[in-house]
Amino acid sequence: MSSNSRLFALLLMVAAVATLITWVATAMAVVVSTAGLGRDAVSVRLELVAGGITRDIAEYAGAGIGLSEAVGVSEYLREELSGDPAVAAALVETPDGRPIGRFIRPDRDDLTATTLDLARLERSGLTAAAFPVLVEGMTVGRVVLAMEEAALPAGLDGAMPHFFVALVTALLFGSHLILTAFRELVERPQQAVLAVQQRVALRQFDASAGAVADGPVAPVAEAVTRVLVAVNDRVARARAYVQELRDFSFNRDAAAAAGTLDERLGRSGTFAPDGMVVLRLDHAALVLGPALFRAALVIALGIWLAARGGLPVALSVAAALLVAAVGGLARLVPRMPRPLFLAGLAAAALVVLPAFPEPWLGLPLLALASAHAFATVATIVCSHPAVRAGAALHAAFGLAAGAGLIHLEHVSGSTWVTTGTAVLALFALAVLGTRHAATAGPPPRPDAAAGRLSLPLLPILFWAGAALWLAAGSGAVGTYEAWAATIAVAVGSSLMLTVLYRWRARLVADVALPVALFGAVVALPLGESVAALMLGGFAVGIGAPAAAGLQALHGGLRGMPWTATAVTLGAVLGGLAGTAGAAVVELTAAGRLGGRTAP
């Protein structure tokens, strides 16, 4: 593990500890508050029930019958309270504590054998209270009532999965933030300093790293610039001396030799007599991952917003897929408007999207957002196979974060979280793309245009996979299930990346891709089950980085016929196996297989 990886892992651990501490503390406070709500509710219900009973008994006693001679009180209590399942026990007693009637719910056998009183009921884990029976201001008896109070009120136990989704989603966002900051504050200045050092080793002193972010590497970058300035000054002084020798020397030989010395100075390195320029570097390897995270997030939320307006999910996915590809290709056209302008337009579109009752108006807005997202991503081209493959993981994380937000919105019913996040992510994506385009130097390879052309292939494959399992549910997939599937995508991507890093071979990708598609297509006919969704997501997660790595290893679009054949074979076999599997499942469910026969 490199020192940078170790530092990043340590930062993630610090963030995880800080996050978990705050989350657990707040969750405990919520549990305490909820328990308080439950206690208050039980005490109010006790008062309501006891109020009716004390009123009836007061009327009875007010008729002139002494409570100590009352009969039928137990029957009255049974008639009154047997319809309320929360009441566990009730007791009516005289002021001197003699019971004249009691009610015990049939399933509370533990209370029947003993003498009931307030303390005994409270010791039994019940919430109990005593209410006086008043007749003309005199206490003629009292009613003791006990209710069962659940440790946690109903509704809190089922909320744990939502809390978990919130935690994982927030951690995904936090990790993305930390990664972005780490790359901006540490890795990007490191690359700049390293590039300057490499140029200095080649005796090139005419460009500096410029102003870098104020991170831990900034002092080094500034010190390197000071050395460059000092060297340029030293050379300038030497050159001035040589010129003085040439212009003012009485020695004719020296004047003639000065030209040679000047040439030697010029050959000793590349200097900047008129001031250094800022080195322009292509940091695509650092920017591509975060950009794809934001793009996937924007498009996932856009699809959700459009689907909420009434569009079929499959149609939304297909539209986003198509337009993302077009947007990626459109960036090849020179002199496009500034991405920021498009971002503003698309952000405004996303803001007004939920306000449109007519879903067909949402479709072009979703298309605009998708096109812009991938137009921005397409400005960032990276030819490194590992980065290409890793980008799929970032996209998977973006998708999982979006799915988590969608689930939380579905649970809470508020729409501002998804809309606000979509707009923020789109804006952040545009800023990333604009900054990259402004600072990037010439592309590292002459065939970068081909790279741009082939870049949309990755999202196309990725979104095609996503469309498969989303459309499989035909809109019947719950948000929690969809989130689980996206997490499966992320897990699959992580595993495939680990394999690709360990065995960086074309064979791995060539085998993994058809196998993954096989799995995805097998899952298709199984329909809406969570396991099928997760299997499909896992397969897409494996396939996306494998395809990206394969694409990069092949050098773009060339040399993929064998892979295409294998992929087709995998898909066809998967389709056949999936159909057969679905038939088996159906037959098993109908009881015609597995030895189950109708009597």
């Binding site: 020192s3 800080a18 219900r45 319809g83 009120p153 010190a223 000071r226 030697r264």
Partner: protein
Amino acid sequence: MRGLGRLALTVWLCAAIVQVLALATFFATLENVKTRLAVEQLRTLVNRVEGPAAARAALGYPLEYQADLQALVESLSLAVKRSADIYITDAQGVVVFASEHERIGEPVPGAWLQGTDSSDGWVAATAMENVFGARVVNAFGERSGTIVARALRRDVIVDVISAMRTPAIVAGLSLGLAGVLAVAGTALAARAAARRYEAGAEALDRLAAAVSAGKAPDAEDLAALPGVGDVLARVAAVEEEARRLDRPLRDAAASASAASAASASASAARSSRPAGRAA
């Protein structure tokens, strides 16, 4: 250690994002819990009225003739501090007794009576209100009327906001703790890297100072930026060559000036001797 502030801020932001999402989720959960509790309370209210009303309805008294029910619904509504209203309707759905007097004589909204076929009561929750209803049947099993309790969701929200006060305070305090953790943890995690960078920057600063002063840098400092030593050596060689070329002229000029000084002193001596002689 310079430059770790933004990293620590980002780490803290991670905790802050979690808190924002957590609070939003917790709020939704508490609202759900409180809504259920509110519905249970409505169920209790309805049960309290349904008991006596159903007993007399079974004896043949229609609900609209049970005048004491008005006092009962008012006392129950008072018991819950008017946070819920209770309505008793006849078989046609017209309110005959109610804790909200203005409603008496009016039909209840149709949405409140959508579960009248249910023998266990029904819940009709909307964005504005929670409603629990139960039917009352006579001895022949025919619907004699309905009892409906209603509470505004606004009260639920107010209670939830009140209940969220403690979690919000805890969240704020724990975010403060997270800030301390983020600063200390980031400093601890980046300590080795920051020291390495600081040492590198110091070596480069010494190198820059030496180059500016025209002194020979240490070999250790030169190793911080390979390539500088080579260029400095070349520049020094050029300067030395220039000095060498410049030296004969300087030597000649120096000897010429020395010679002129010597001749001047000699002529001064000559001029003083005759004067002495004359004296």
